[in-house]
């Protein structure tokens, strides 16, 4: 196993991690600020991807497609918040899970109704496609480097938003004491809609960016959603910083585990058995990581509440 391969896999892990972060950031904001478990977050990811594929197909522009993904997911998020979610803030978590699960079904079948059962086409634009040669002779797809860049830029932007702006202060205040900031004259329901739309827009962006290298199809959001939940549990619910660190940890564990565990087992097992056992264990690696973090810090790495 050469060092080039290892560096390439670390980059893959980082890229996977930052995309998970885009999903997890919205999820953790919504859970932290409003105390809401939003299972339909994966549907917003799908909405972003479908909007991007549709606009890219109609206009041929990838940038317009990204704008459309952000706008469509944010609009869908705001609409869902106003029509459905708003009634659930005071409800028990089980009711929230039930209602947002219903939203998943509505979004999935609605998308199938509009776009059909077959996957849509969305591709990387020419100016971002193909591999680039990094120092040390590493060939790496340019688009994935761009994804890493976008992920870090969004992380920086979110940090600036929460730490340096008035909205950010309101969001953080809302996390700590929602009655008090309502009493101080902040329009709490508008703030909630805004946070929800922001989270949705990030999910939609992730869906469009990832849709270009994967497949745009109904149900694409749910597998990512599960990992995004793992991320926010590891990072500490409500913490953007936690979501970032958690996402990178999960991304790296998942990627490196998938590559190196089968190799490790091959040292003392027969090839076929080793790859099967190794990959089975690799798919558990993320959850094992989560258990270890939770044993060590029950509220997650950066969680405020126990």
């Amino acid at each position: 196993m050469s060092s080039i391969l290892i560096i390439e896999q670390v980059l893959n892990g980082l890229q996977f991690g930052v995309m998970l972060f885009l999903m997890a950031a919205g999820l953790t904001l919504i859970f932290g600020v409003m105390g809401l478990i939003n299972l339909a977050h994966g549907s917003l990811y799908m909405v972003g991807a479908f909007a991007a594929a549709w606009v890219a197909g109609a206009t041929g522009s990838f940038l317009l497609a990204l704008v459309a993904a952000l706008a469509a997911a944010a609009a869908a998020g705001a609409l869902v918040e106003i029509v459905v979610i708003r009634r659930l803030y005071k409800a028990a978590h089980l009711d929230q899970v039930l209602a947002t699960f219903a939203l998943i079904l509505i979004f999935s079948e609605g998308t199938r109704w509009v776009f059909g059962s077959f996957p849509l086409f969305l591709d990387i634009p020419d100016y971002l496609s193909g591999p680039v040669t990094l120092p040390g002779g590493i060939q790496y797809p340019f688009y994935r480097l761009v994804l890493i860049g976008i992920g870090f830029a969004v992380a920086l932007g979110l940090w600036w938003l929460t730490a340096k702006t008035r909205i950010g202060i309101q969001i953080r205040a809302g996390e700590n004491d929602r009655e008090m900031i309502a009493a101080l004259g902040v329009d709490i329901s508008k703030l909630y809609t805004l946070v929800f739309a922001l989270g949705a827009a990030l999910a939609g962006l992730a869906g469009a960016l990832v849709g270009a290298i994967q497949s745009v199809q109904v149900g694409m959001g749910e597998p990512v959603l599960i990992l995004a939940f793992v991320v926010i549990v590891i990072g500490g619910i409500g913490s953007i910083r936690g979501a970032f660190i958690g996402a990178l940890l999960v991304g790296l564990t998942d990627t490196l585990g998938g590559v190196f565990l089968p190799e490790l087992f091959k040292l003392f097992m027969e090839t076929t058995t080793a790859t099967q056992t190794g990959s089975a264990l690799a798919s558990m690696a993320v959850y094992i990581l989560m258990s270890i973090v939770l044993i060590w810090r029950p509220s997650g790495l950066f969680g405020a509440r126990a």
Partner: protein, 376 residues
């Protein structure tokens, strides 16, 4: 006595239309990630039924949502309350394993338009179970045979870590005579293959074989094309069917894949099928649609020859496979799985539409490897 005969005759008259009606239960995947396959099987099947012009065949269609528990419930419902005579439709091997044994044990017929798990082809075969598509390993065996003829000597092989994935790599290795550079089991439903592609780049393989059906294949091919690796790729038709090729786009162009069917197989049935499918549904048929179509025509041929209430005669009629297949010649092996020719196809672009063209014959009149274990 005369009275008795008359009433018997009246009864027979009353009963005759009811006897002639054959009720088919179709359980297939019509929602969720794998819906495209079920929709194609259903559309191909219903096209054949409507073309037959028969109004004595009733088809009940239900969606299994790709969930084994739901498929089992639907099968029970169809047998117990709908009283269907024949079941068909299941796409996924894990669902077939959950449904088929209990269906055949209750004396009903099951015709598989897609899934062909090895467990039902070998020791677990049943006289009332017919597979009209293929045994799971077949297309992969053909891919291995094609790799030999293309002169590949060292393959990097990958498939998802589930029974059909294991069948796939086993099938490829059964016929491939070269070395295996590395063998990887990915997660079922995995969408990012960056890690595997990096390993392919680092390996000394001269070819890549992959079995990643549906969305998994789209992701892999797009990412592989973007990685700039030049090693040729081969796979079974499942990642190159008509439904998903448009979503893969240029990344699939020129890739060789193996299939028992293609739209350019030259026979009258196939030409009529491709044309009427397009006219009816406004899209090109996939191999799944052809399997649905063949399944329905096999069924119709059996209904014409025998009544389904006479199970032995009906079974013989099915076994005779006296119908015009879109694949040309069609016959069943001793375990009721097809003995058929499997082709190598290449992905081409016809106008704006991506589709496949046959470039070679991979395996001629190929039977599956499990037939010998089948004792009916």
């Amino acid at each position: 006595m005369k009275k008795l005969v008359t009433s018997a005759a009246v009864l027979a008259l009353l009963a005759a239309p009811a006897l002639a009606d054959t009720k088919i239960g179709m359980i297939t995947t019509l929602s969720g990630g794998g819906a495209g396959l079920g929709v194609d099987v259903r559309d191909g099947f219903m096209l054949a039924i409507s073309q037959s012009g028969r109004d004595d065949i009733e088809v009940v269609i239900e969606d299994d949502q790709r969930k084994p528990d739901i498929a089992v419930q639907l099968a029970d419902k169809m047998i117990q309350s709908e009283k269907v005579d024949v079941l068909t439709g299941i796409i996924w091997s894990n669902l077939a394993m959950a449904v088929v044994p209990s269906v055949t044990a209750q004396g009903k017929f099951y015709l598989s338009p897609n899934a062909g798990p090895s467990a039902l082809a070998g020791a677990g075969c049943h006289q009332n179970y017919f597979n009209v598509a293929w045994q799971n390993d077949n297309l992969h065996e053909a891919a291995g045979a094609y790799a030999n003829s293309a002169g590949y000597g060292n393959s990097f092989i990958l498939a998802p870590n589930y029974p059909a994935g294991t069948d796939a790599l086993t099938g490829y290795k059964r016929t491939f005579e070269g070395d295996v550079a590395n063998e990887i089991y990915t997660k079922l439903g995995q969408t990012d293959y960056a890690a595997e592609i990096a390993q392919i780049r680092a390996s000394d393989a001269d070819s890549v074989f992959f079995f990643l059906p549906g969305g998994m294949g789209i992701s892999f091919l797009k990412q592989y094309a973007d990685s700039g690796i030049e090693k040729p790729v081969i796979g079974p038709a499942f990642s190159f069917d008509q439904g998903i090729l448009q979503a893969v786009g240029d990344a699939a162009l020129g890739v060789v894949n193996t299939s028992q069917w293609n739209k350019d197989i030259d026979n009258a049935t196939n030409a009529a099928f491709v044309e009427s499918f397009q006219a009816e549904y406004g899209r090109l048929p996939s191999l799944y649609a052809s399997q649905g179509f063949d399944t329905a025509n096999l069924l119709i041929s059996a209904i014409e020859a025998a009544d389904v209430s006479d199970a032995d005669a009906f079974r013989d009629a099915l076994r005779a496979a006296d119908f015009d297949s879109t694949r040309g010649a069609f016959s069943f092996g001793p375990n009721h799985h097809p003995v058929q020719t499997i082709y190598a196809r290449e992905v081409i672009k016809e106008g704006d539409v991506f589709t496949n063209k046959i470039v070679a014959t991979a395996l001629e009149n190929h039977a599956d490897a499990y037939a010998a274990d089948c004792k009916m």
